[in-house]
């Protein structure tokens, strides 16, 4: 019997889309393995009605309905997840690949003596063991990893294709007993969080308009901002742009920045170094705009426009506005 436990991550009381996606993908996995069951764990006081109609399949969700869990605390979260896992009898634990799970899962792996497979892009479930496949070496290679322990933890990277589970779901919520955790063992203590309300994170955006050195200067990003706003997307940046101080590090995409998986990635004035390509391998559609017809970005792009950004971008903005007006 395979018992899968999915951690449903919330931020400020809102369950992450990435976690919902993992739940649905694990439901698909369970559907392929008849002798299996899925359950979930949710930490923090929040309105569970937000999950109506978005979680597919069937199973129970353990809800630690406490305000103290609204902010991440590695010790409390580790205790809660470990206790719930034992109670549930789960053999595999799944997380979305996020800042939180990257912090929490390695501790759980040691604590529970569980194999930790990080950043999985594809489940490799040909056999009894579910392994994981993901890119390594800056995306120049792809590797398969297999768990050696009977208990497994997976962090699953986002990808833009959506699961196709049906939503005639039967999900039961079980409220967990109060944890009784005190503040004495609270360190490291999250004093507060500050979210950038005005924009999405590149790691979570469906459309990214990214700029490189070819944008010219910090002011040149205004047009990228405008395009991103029109498309409901967000702005990303290459490393030289961040090193120059034109854009914040939070927007950097690539080897020393973030790995992204948007539906559409616009690479504007980005030549396409190996380091940058390492971060965009999971983009569904890559559109490159560059004045150098030999830029390496064109080798991996789906659509290309060769031309001066300062001429192309205004035309592109006009074309998008035209489209939005007609619709």
């Amino acid at each position: 019997m395979n018992k899968y436990l999915v951690f449903l991550e919330q931020r400020e009381g809102v369950v992450k889309k990435a976690s919902i996606e993992i739940w649905n993908r694990v439901q698909e996995l369970a559907a392929r393995h008849p002798d299996s069951a899925v359950s979930g764990i949710l930490a923090g006081s929040l309105d569970i009605r937000q999950l109506d109609g978005v979680l597919g399949g069937k199973g129970v969700i353990y809800h630690a309905n406490e305000e103290r869990f609204l902010l991440y605390n590695s010790r409390h979260y580790a205790r809660l997840v470990a206790d719930t896992l034992k109670r549930d009898g789960a053999t595999s634990l799944f997380f979305a690949d996020t800042a939180l799970s990257r912090d929490l899962a390695p501790r759980l792996s040691v604590n529970l003596e569980a194999s930790l497979l990080s950043g999985c892009e594809v489940f490799d479930d040909a056999g009894v063991d579910v392994g994981c496949v993901r890119p390594v070496y800056s995306g120049s290679a792809i590797a398969s990893f297999a768990p050696e322990r009977s208990l497994r933890i997976y962090t699953i990277s986002s990808r833009s294709t959506r699961s196709i589970i049906s939503f005639g779901s039967h999900i039961e919520f079980i409220a967990l007993e109060p944890s009784g955790f005190t503040s004495e063992n609270l360190f490291p203590f999250v004093r507060r969080i500050a979210m950038r309300k005005d924009r999405q994170d590149v790691a979570e955006a469906a459309i990214i308009v990214a700029g490189g050195r070819g944008v010219g200067d910090a002011a040149g990003f205004e047009q990228l901002e405008e395009l991103a706003l029109l498309l409901g997307g967000t702005v990303g940046a290459s490393r030289p742009v961040v090193d120059e101080g034109w854009r914040p590090h939070a927007e950097q995409i690539g080897q020393t920045g973030k790995t992204v998986a948007p539906a559409i990635y616009f690479a504007c004035g980005i030549s396409g170094s190996v380091q940058h390509l390492a971060g965009i391998g999971s983009a569904s559609i890559l559109v490159a705009i560059n004045n150098d017809p030999h830029a390496p970005i064109f080798d991996v792009a789906d659509y290309a426009l060769v031309g001066d950004l300062h001429i192309v971008l205004p035309k592109l903005l006009d074309a998008v506005k035209e489209f939005l007006k007609k619709r």
Partner: protein, 262 residues
């Protein structure tokens, strides 16, 4: 203050990695210090400069060319290095286990006040070793920090999360993994390089009997070249995207503020 810094080596991104029958050929690889470890090291050296009497000790399992890397790190301002051998590690769990044994051995079962690691190694990007090490040492930890301020009593750090920043209070002893943005690593000076030659690199044998938690069963090159469609007019590009992509059809309604794709 005793500060430990864990360093690892990664293939230079420009290096050629060979792949034969599902395994790697690393014989032609040029090894460099993991870029994120440079931020970890720089932060440790800055703390050493602020708190008199601090000692920065490097720990590395890397074989072969590791001494060269350790000399560079010593030239950046670390005081001494411990080069660990005796166990061939094959996964993050074993790596963390060996590092934890080495650190406990070196500090004679006391704990260093601070341990710094890079956020992840750029080759495998698992980001597991730092947190596993913290768990094994039984100390507090915060991953991917972008800012640190320390007093003798405690520390305040900032950590990047999706779409924002977490502000944390931490007590000693603690482990931090460094994200880009934490600092700008210094360049080595000739004086630093000269001094580094006199600094000790201890060799430490560590054997463990823990088996790996994860094994790599296959690795092969990833072909990424696509057939790119060149278009000449922005209007044509938009039409093509509309045809191909449903996300595009729903765009423009979120005003970029909802934080999640739909």
């Amino acid at each position: 203050m005793n500060i430990a810094v864990c360093l690892c080596q990664v293939p230079d991104t420009a290096s050629v990695i060979g792949f034969v029958n599902g395994t790697r050929d690393l014989s032609r690889v040029n090894w460099v210090m993991n870029p994120f470890d440079e931020y970890a090291l720089e932060e440790a050296v800055r703390l050493k400069e602020r708190f008199a009497g601090s000692v920065v000790t490097l720990f590395s399992i890397a074989p072969g060319a590791a001494k060269e890397m350790l000399r560079k790190a010593l030239a950046m301002g670390a005081d001494q290095a411990v080069l660990i051998s005796g166990t061939e590690v094959s996964d993050p769990f074993q790596t963390a286990r060996v590092l934890s044994r080495a650190i406990l051995d070196f500090y004679r079962d006391a704990l260093p006040d601070l341990v710094f690691c890079g956020k992840h190694s750029t080759d495998f990007q698992s980001a597991q070793v730092p947190l596993m090490l913290a768990e094994m040492l039984g100390i507090e930890s915060v991953s991917s920090i972008v800012k640190l301020s320390a007093t003798a009593e405690g520390l305040q750090v900032e950590r990047e999360i999706e779409g924002g920043i977490e502000y944390l209070d931490v007590r000693y002893p603690a482990l931090f993994s460094a994200e880009k943005g934490l600092n700008v690593p210094r360049k080595t000076t000739i004086k630093g390089v000269m001094e580094a030659r006199k600094k000790p690199i201890d060799l430490l044998q560590v054997t463990i009997d823990d088996r790996a938690f994860v094994s790599m069963t296959n690795v092969k090159p990833l072909e990424r070249k696509k057939v790119c469609r060149f278009v000449s007019e922005p209007g044509e590009l938009i039409r093509l995207l509309i045809d191909e992509c449903a996300v595009f059809m729903s765009s423009g309604e979120t005003n970029g503020g909802t934080g999640e794709p739909r």
